[in-house]
Symmetry: C2
Amino acid sequence: MDIKDYLEQKRIEVDRFLDAVAPRADTPPTTLHESMRYSLMAGGKRVRPILAIAAAESVCAATPPGIMAVACSLELIHTYSLIHDDLPSMDNDDFRRGKPTNHKVYGEAMAILAGDALLTMAFDWCSRPDLMKGCEPQRQVRLIQELAYGSGNVGMVGGQVFDIQAENKDIDLPTLQNIHKHKTGMLIRAAVRMGAIAAGATDRQLDDLTGYAEDIGLAFQIADDVLNVTGTREELGKNPNTDAERGKKTYPAFYGVEGARKLADDCVTRAIARLASFGPSADPLRKLAWYITARKN
Amino acid sequence: MDIKDYLEQKRIEVDRFLDAVAPRADTPPTTLHESMRYSLMAGGKRVRPILAIAAAESVCAATPPGIMAVACSLELIHTYSLIHDDLPSMDNDDFRRGKPTNHKVYGEAMAILAGDALLTMAFDWCSRPDLMKGCEPQRQVRLIQELAYGSGNVGMVGGQVFDIQAENKDIDLPTLQNIHKHKTGMLIRAAVRMGAIAAGATDRQLDDLTGYAEDIGLAFQIADDVLNVTGTREELGKNPNTDAERGKKTYPAFYGVEGARKLADDCVTRAIARLASFGPSADPLRKLAWYITARKN
């Protein structure tokens, strides 16, 4: 299998689901729905939903009931976090994925509310009878618990707080690692675990996949830091080197660009080793791990 | 039973649960948890949790498993909505419940994140195995669905959007009603329905209680509008008459203060009529309906 084809095919499926299930911009409140869709359909790579789908496939060949809703709920969370992070009182970014940020188009109030609505909708989708048909209720509750835990105060939101508190401070490496473990790592961990749980993973499988997720989460963040230094405006869809300008400490700042790349590669190697007990069904996860660090740099 | 004693007793129970289960301010991220607690423990009347508890009691004498987590998740949603509503880009309020608003104390970024974390925590609590022990998973999923539906894009958040869009516009009565139906009504509806569902209500009981909730939701909003005109700074915990200053249309603007009071009373009478098939177990709900419109005016 070719990972680019795989990613492209899954991305299309995810986009199709999001477009079909997200509230239409011609139903009220229309501006809210338009604003939600503006960011949701802005052409993300859909890494988190694809990780969830690939994790499910690694566990079970049959498509688990509700997997698309579960996978896409992660993209709703990711999208809301980008909208809120871009706000003037947070990172104050004007561009995202090559387009003006949500608040630049719809104003701050609507951007805050669009984020709130996307966040809430993630839990709506995971609990909707039509979208989750056939999924055991006990499993469904567990999926919702994973999503809440990974995205909340001790997960992604917590990471955002650690990040804000570290700005313009001379932080050490453990502090940087703690930021990323939460800010990016916990939702990626949730994505892989949710896919696995939806597919009925054994405890052992879930442990292995959790280890995999933690390693690629770190690799993903390091690669992102490197890209922020080395990428062009076209590649990034926003201005490069914004981290350094804001006085944010990054992996390249600690290890240099080459050192950071090496570190990301080590994480990927470790991640793949975690999948030793899985057969070819885990090939997408293996290739995804490499793809994540190789993207655009 | 005396409704004031009842409310006081339930309020204490809710406060105790919130205080015990909300993350401690000495666990990281400490500032986030402090900020969440600042607004959560600011002395609200806990109307939504109490409605959920009273609705459960009206259906079943035994305490349903998980009812406190379910009830308090509604207060988490309510509190997050207040924090976000008070932000400079939204209502720009400096005081809430007699204290400086969250962003005044912790800054805008932290206030946005505290809101996000409280919202997420509502779904965490409703899906946590320890807090929901003994609740059937199928019922749990249904409760989560009610919470998401009532607080999201076609619920409370949608209402906030309708409200923003109506500011400084000469809106008609149906538009005003649509704002309130969503902004306050949908979460109150969710509160009553969630209490009823947790207690195993029949379809008929759930229908009756839903009607009750819709009527008191409207009464509640009218009373709030009246209070905004007639209340003092001490009673309100914030400056009075802010609605008129902002050019917000309210029920007193359409009906006058006395006309609005009469309308609220009619709603309460209708709400109580919905409970005709319930025995004395629904007395707290009946008295609550009157109490809601009588508060401080």
